[in-house]
Amino acid sequence: MASDLDRLRGLRILIVEDTFMLADELNEFLRELGCETVGPAARASEATALAHATPLDGALLDVNLSRGETSFPVAADLAGRHVPFVFITGYDLDSSFPAEFRDSPRISKPLDLGVLVRAMLRHFTPAARPH
């Protein structure tokens, strides 16, 4: 397991989360894991700007941003540039997702950090990046 966590060390991860408390917590946790965090960004436009400025190994995207915004545009942009991402969502229903993202990886709020780590290992580590 330790070796697994080591695989996460040094990854550049973009955090998109509008709630400050949650963003801050996620940020702290990833740093403790040795990741290099980009963001957190509270808005889609801000997130896209950050993603363009820095090479990324992955992104954690809160689906619902404030004032009706979603992070689907960010996801589309990242997909186009082959950056892996994981949605963080409070929703249970597939119908809220556009068809293209229905099969994308997602984890539910409130976050179970174990689930988070497993998702990151699975999708962000180089060994797990065949697509």
Partner: protein, 1183 residues
Amino acid sequence: MPKRHEDGEKRRDFPVVGIGASAGGIPALKRFFSSAPPDGNIAFVVVMHLAPGRESVLGDIVGRFSPLPTDVVDGETAVEPGHVYVIPPDAALTLEDGHLLTARPGSGVGPRGPVDGFLASLAADRGENAACVILSGTGSDGTQGLRAIKEHGGLALAQEAAEYDGMMRSAVATGLVDFVLPAEEMAGKLHDYFGHLRETAPRKDGDGLRREVASHLPAICALLRARTGHDFSEYKDSTIIRRIQRRMQVLQRETPEAYLERLKTEPREIDLLFHDLLIGVTSFFRDPLAFEALDREVITPLMENVGPDTAIRVWVPGCSTGEEAYSIAMLLHERLSPERKRPVIQIFASDIDERGLEVGRLGRYPASIAEQVSERRLKRFFVREDGTFRVVGELRESILFSTHDLLRDPPFSKLDLISCRNLLIYMTSELQDRVIPLFNYALRGEGYLFLGSSENVTRHTRLFTTVDKAHRIFRRRPEMRSRLPEFPLSTHAPRLTPQPARPRPEPPDGSLQRLAERQLLDRFGPAHAVVNANGDVLHISAKTGKYLELPAGTPDNNLVGMARPGLRLDLRGAIHRAAASGETVLQNEISVGTNGGRQMIDLVVQPLRRDGKEDATFLVVFRDRGGLQTDDDFPHQTLDDGEATTVQHLEHELRTMTERLQTTTEELESSNEELKSANEELSSINEELQSSNEELETSKEELSSMNEELQTVNAELSARVEELSRANSDIQNLLESTQVATVFLDRDLCVKKFTPAAKELFFLVESDEGRPIGHLRARFKADTLQDDAEQVLRRLAPIERTVEGLDSGRRYAMRILPYRTVADRISGVVITFVDISRITEAEARIQELTDSLKDRVVSLETLLDLVPVGVFIMSGDAPEQAALNRAAARLLGRDDGTPTPRMLSSELPLHTAGVTMPRASQPLLRAAHTREPVPAFEAELHREDGKSIDVIVTATPLASARGKPPGAIAAMVDITERRQAEVHQQMLLDELQHRAKNILATVTALARKTGGETAAAEEATAALVGRLQAMARTHELLSRDLWRGVPLEELVRVTLDPYLGKAEDEIAIAGPAVVVDPKASSILGMVFYELASNAAQYGALGPRHGRLAVGWSVESRDGRRWLSLAWRETLAEPLPAPEARGFGTTFIERSLSYELSGRASLAFEADGLSCVLEFPLDPPEDS
């Protein structure tokens, strides 16, 4: 002379002025009357051309500017001096016996020539107390009347510079107008003229003549003779005096002396008087009955008996302007037979008035002669020229106009007819007695004499027989031949007839002696002659026959040549000697051979002395010596023989004388007889004359009124003709321009007329007019045309058919109608063709469009039934009913199968809040009424099955065709399901709130249970619980307001609530009402909790005590609203700054910037915390 009425005398003594006017007359009348002195002695009668059948305001107009009382004549009106009378419309006005009479023209007679008519009656009624005024007007009305006025001695005025000068020019052209004046000067002139007339009235005798003028007649006649060469001394005194009086009147000369003076100084006045004397009214066929008689009795036999190469010779003395001569010429020409060779027609028309002859020679007469000359004659003998009639050349060439004085110049001779009408009436009977034998002389064989109606030859039955007594046609007795009298015919010359001369006053003193000497000479003196030195005879006495005889060969005037045998030598010698010596030469005992013997004479030739001077003239005196000796006994004459011869001679002479006496006595007796019978006849004729004169007057009046009527009718006719020709040209243009092919047929169905467009339907050329319609080839199928036309003629009902052109493929609507004249008589049929090809096409197109429209309507209706929205349509025509579609029916709970149209009252069964919707709020009616859309609103619909559903209704007005009230359309959607969904959603929301609160409460409880072992843990738990509770409070507020936002002040107060009770006066909260959105509310709720818990622990709300002020404001920045909130704590005692930043501080600063794009600044100052929060209330525009 006009007839007189005793009761009329009194009314007759004031003058009446007839004023004639037409176009432009009103302003002229205004000028006339506005300057008229209010003369109470004159009556004015205004005669104007008025439109018939129209109310006239002429009376009012004249009354306005006339200073005299003005009346419109109505029925019989006695004329009063000092009044103005105005003709009523549509009437003929005449003056008779001092009364104005109106005659309403019968039906069919329109406008008249009323001026002439009135003036004629005025002249007859008033004589010299009449005047006429011709004002502005077109045409020639008034001219004939003016002649009448002048003929009766009245005054004639014409307007100078008249606006329309037709009437005035026509009047002036007669040469009879006395004054041409501007309208405003006329009244004054009339006033002066009649004033003068009044003054001179007492000087007149019963016949209105001034006797003192008579004494100056010879002088005036002498002046006239000297200037004009015409002798008027034998004319009737009364005629001449009347004319002289009139001239005096016009010139306002008081006395004949003054007038004579004027004549002497102003030769032109002699001319004027001369022309006045010559005024004669003449016209074509004057007295038509007489001309008919002339035609019958004279012209016809003359022309029948005439030889081919002979000439018909006619003399018209005193022809004036030639009308009479032309009338006779017309009669003659009418009788010219085309079969026979034409005789030469010679008419001598003579007069002393050169002006009149000029008119005759020109042969141009005013249009008004149309009333005298029949239309047939006008057509044959005249040509129209500039509104006048001109005699055709044929007629003109047969007349010779010449200046000729009947009394001065020898007559024409060998005449077949003399027409001398109304000339003798001006002559004294003595003069007449010499003129009539003159006519006898001039006529040949049984020539005819045609006289005027008041003239006669009864004193000369010896010379003429009567052919037609009534019409004064006489025939010469061929056996009686008058000798040519000497000229001039005057009483000063030897008499032609045996009647004794009227005794003339003999010149006084020395003349008596001369007369005695003259008689002595004639009776007792020897025969003598006066000759010049050559022996030419200058004068010769009576009884020279014994000594002189006319030689054979060309006669000359030489005394020597005329001398009988035996005398010639001595005579020549004696004259010669006397001429040479200047002494008297005496030659005794010359034997002259005379008829039946010889005569012994003494010859004396004595030079004549005149005023003591030699005159180269010689008196030759033949003095008998003894009696006549016969040739036989001349040489053997003895004394005894001589005595016996003398006795024998005397006896012989006595016998002869006795015989002569016997003859003379017989002649005398027979002539006495004749005279007696003539006298009787004369007196009877005189009687007759009187009565026929009366008759004549009447018939003359009748005639002139008839003339008036004729003229009027003619004027109207020509106006009609003009109108007609205008209408005709209008019709012509209409026919030419119309696109409607029209063919007019007469009763026989022959083509009368057709429009150019008709050539499209028939093979028609202009010459086809008159051809039967059946003969025309039609360009369409015309099988029934003939029958149709006949049927229309029979039944008078129009027939309409559609026909198709044979080659053009066009379609026409053919209508056959009866042709109705204006008088509603059927005189044929009219066939019209209207090209309806385009109409037919258009109809087809309309049908197509209608079908397509129907299809569309059907699809629209289907669509309407398919839409799931209830639709109600109310038309503006029937606002009480609304149609509804299937969805609406379903909404109402009706069966789907209800057949269309589904109808419903336009008051829909709607309820709001359980109350039936009032009519004013009904959506359909409201939209139609306000013409504004009705915004959507919710209501309950009571269905027909008793249930009720929630609906949203909206309505909008329907545009309608112009002028129609608008309709409306309403849409209705069932929102019952949505309502239920909303209710469900609310329920879910409530559930969610409840769950969220429960979760928070559970978490709080768990936190409390988890902590509690150590003091630090207890503190941490308390902090956690406090924060959870703050979150729960904010959540509560948000869910109360359905997550729409929270008022800022409430948010502050809820957070500070636990402390407010303790130290209320220490806490001040102030700021404008601001609602903060849910996200900002959650953040601010946490921020306020952190600030409050910090203050409770270390600051103003804690044990240190102090005051807290929370204030905020909203300002605009970059187009967004920014909230700026200050949290200011003021502590009583100073506080040391905290060493490290706690969670709260970090949270406040970071969350504000991270989540709200705002700023937070915290300052821990000595007297307390100061925190300023700023963030935008509105989302960024680019989001």
